[in-house]
């Protein structure tokens, strides 16, 4: 049963303009930071880039 709903709103975003990432990063009121792949017509969650270390 759904007891409460809240509106998850955008707080900020940056675009990482690097060929390795090319990712739109958003922060939102649900405490999440997400990376988005916007290279296709439909934005989707980006894959975590592999760490080079």
């Amino acid at each position: 049963m759904v007891v409460a709903e809240y509106k998850n709103v955008l707080l900020d975003m940056i675009y990482v303009n690097d060929s390795k990432y090319n990712m739109l990063i958003t922060s939102s009121s649900d405490f999440m930071i997400k990376g988005w792949d916007i290279s296709s017509n439909i934005p989707s969650l980006a894959k975590q880039p592999e760490n080079e270390d």
Binding site: V2, V3, E5, L10, M13, L24, D30, P43
Partner: protein, 160 residues
């Protein structure tokens, strides 16, 4: 930081000038200003010090001859001149200035229902969202339509 001399405050200054043979020394001017600008920026830190700086600047602008005394005509003329300068600045269209020119894009325009909170440059596109929104919209910078669909954050529900 500036002091807004409205008609009410101007009236007090005019009375003060009239009671002092139409001229005020620096100290008299400061004293009148401090006395009648009681409602100025009440929440400001170091308010009195900043008010003194503003009044002092006003006095110096009116006292062009550096005599340490200004007349009502000098003070009033200075205010009129400042007002006219401000008005001309406000009326100046950004496109007419040398430093600010409109970007020549072919009809880029997007109307939203809420104030725009953030825009970022994606290279050939712009991403933006409005206040209290969970949706990012995309636009091509040349004004043409983009195929990229809006990015919508999912809403969370608290369930039991």
């Amino acid at each position: 930081m500036a002091i807004n001399i409205d008609k009410y405050i101007l009236g007090f200054f005019k009375d003060a000038f009239e009671q002092n043979n139409s001229e005020l020394s620096f100290n008299e001017f400061m004293s009148q200003g401090m006395r009648h600008l009681k409602s100025w920026q009440r929440e400001l830190k170091h308010r009195e010090e900043k008010m003194q700086q503003c009044l002092s600047r006003l006095f110096a602008e009116a006292d062009s001859g550096r005599k340490g005394v200004i007349t009502w005509n000098q003070f009033n003329s200075m205010l009129i001149e400042k007002g006219l300068n401000l008005k001309s600045l406000r009326n100046q269209e950004p496109g007419n200035t040398a430093l600010m020119k409109p970007i020549a894009v072919s009809g880029f325009s997007a109307k939203h229902n809420n104030p725009i909170q953030k825009m970022v440059n994606l290279g050939s596109k712009i991403a933006m969202f409005t206040e209290e929104s969970n949706q990012i919209d995309f636009y091509n910078v040349d004004g043409s339509a983009t195929n990229l669909k809006p990015l919508i954050l999912s809403q969370q529900s608290l369930t039991v």
